[in-house]
Amino acid sequence: MAVATIEAVRQSDAVQLVLSGEWTLATMPQPISGFELRLRDLAISKPGWDLRPISRLDSAGAILLWRAWGRQWPASLAVSSGHRALLERVEGISPDLQPEPSAEPLAWITVPGRLALSAGNHLAGMVAMIGQLVLDVAYLCVHPRDIPWREFSANLYKSGAQALPVTALIGFLIGIVLSYLSSLQLRTFGADVFIVNLLGISIVRELGPVLVAILVAGRSGSAMTAQIGVMRVTEEIDALATMGVSRSQRLVLPKVLALAVAMPLLVIWCSAAGITGGMVSANLQMGLSYGFFVDTLPRVVPVANVWIGLSKGVVFGVLIALIACHFGLRVKPNTESLSARTTTSVVTSITVVILVDAVFAVFTRNLGLP
């Protein structure tokens, strides 16, 4: 390929620049900005330009020339009609006149303000969604034919049944670690048998629900946000709307109900795994017999703890599903927003779960403790 070349021809009183070769993005000398500077230097003395020997000129080449000419036609120019048309096209470029939004001077006050407003906005959105769900439930009570059973059972399977192995594993391991660490401490006081109280209360009441909530938020919450978000990106939600299908009934409600049912069951399952792990560890570490452990457990852990654990499960499940759906529906139709919303959804649900857990702790402080 012939590279772009410039040749200066001196005539009686003026200089004529003769350009030839291929003036295209791929064939112009690299770096192009350096080449442009050279052209600009040449253009200062207002020479004549002869572009006729150029074999190929593409838009990059045309722009380069135009910029070298200082965005105006040179006084003396010889150019083929095809290339002239291209240059005229370049002349027609109208720079975008609207100024770029500049940095705000009051950022220190507007940024927290915007954050507060958006938090309020999200809160209002959540309240509206809960209200809509209540209306949906009322509607479905009257029209039981419209209950989305399939979606419900699919969600139950995906976020409940498929989470069984991982929750059991995590619960079991945490039980072992907790039991091992506590037994070391308890033994120094000769209080070995209290391991049952310690494990029973802490796992059933606190660790089980919170662990499951964090797992489910990471596992199912993110999946729900991403699913609804992609449906927004691909306009599937609009397609649903045109078919007269309510998105809150078909997308949100089954997810919320499924997690409300699945979470308490997962909590029981995870707690059981945790206690089993603790029991195994206590047996190995301190020689506490399984029979003794199982016998003692119901006596030292009042059944109220189980109810507390279960109700935490329901509340956390509903919260996770609501937050996931809320952020999913707020996804803007682009991939960046999808990933940002999914992250926000998981972070928010874990934070909210822990906050609500603290509230639970305050309100149940007189319940279920021996």
């Binding site: 192009i32 838009s59 990059a60 470029i93 109208s94 720079p95 139709p333 682009n334």
Partner: protein, 251 residues
């Protein structure tokens, strides 16, 4: 320019292409036609190396598209531009950044030059400078097509692969599009492969036709040559009112 030899495609046990041979010379504008679902998009994807054919080879510019050497493959991929059927704009980037993306990847242009180039390409596809700040989700279907075309043109490609470039454009725009592409082609001498159902586009642009039916290329050549082939799809294609336009335009 493009050389396809013995290409077969199979998804699971569904055969899409059976033993396809196709040659495209420099400067040709080939219109690929065929029924919906006949595997045109799939053939284009194989042509540009997005999909490995089950059997057979594809060579672009004399080099294998699926060259094992990544550097050579990258250089090859800078030499063609593709317009996807659905646009495939980067949804997280604005129109300006979408078109600037391949230019920035060159690492040899400064921002002012890139910005000028982007505005020029936008002008070429009849979009205004103020559209440059919009996000892809804020564009109409036809505008998405035009931005995608501008992006495909941004690297001044030697080969332009277009999947239904004028679908979704109004007749006026699609006529302008045809004119524009013809002018650019005359100017830059690039090669075009396009899939289209639009007889006007075919008539206005294509210098040759290839017909994909029954999993193979049943005819390839000028309109007259193709029309002479006896095949149900071709008979159907040339039977309606479109025939005259296509026959006149192509070849």
């Amino acid at each position: 320019m493009v050389e396809i030899r013995g290409l077969c495609t199979q998804f699971d046990d569904v055969v899409i292409h059976r033993d396809i041979d196709l040659d495209i010379e420099v400067g040709q504008m080939l219109g690929l036609v065929g029924g919906s679902g006949s595997g045109k998009t799939t053939l284009l994807r194989e042509m540009v190396g997005l999909l490995a054919p089950s059997k057979g080879t594809v060579r672009l510019f004399g080099e294998a598209v699926l060259d094992p050497d990544p550097e050579r493959r990258r250089r090859l991929r800078r030499r063609f531009g593709m317009l996807f059927q659905q646009g495939a704009l980067f949804s997280a980037l604005s129109v300006h950044d979408n078109i600037a993306f391949p230019l920035r990847e060159l690492h040899t242009l400064d921002e002012a030059m890139i910005s000028d180039l982007v505005l020029l390409k936008l002008g070429m596809v009849e979009l205004e400078a103020r559209h440059a700040r919009l996000m892809p989700a804020e564009l109409s279907g036809g505008m998405i097509k035009r931005v995608a075309l501008a992006r495909a043109l941004s690297l001044e490609p030697e080969l332009l692969v277009l999947d239904e470039p004028t679908a979704g454009l109004d007749p006026d725009r699609s006529e302008n599009f045809v004119k524009l592409l013809r002018m650019l082609q005359k100017e830059l001498g690039f090669t075009v492969v396009m899939v289209t159902h639009d007889p006007e586009t075919l008539a206005g642009l294509a210098t040759r036709l290839a017909v994909l039916a029954d999993q193979r290329i049943v005819a390839c050549g000028t309109a007259a040559e193709v029309a002479a082939v006896d095949h149900p799809f071709i008979r159907n294609f040339f039977s309606s009112g479109r025939a005259a336009a296509v026959r006149q335009g192509v070849g």
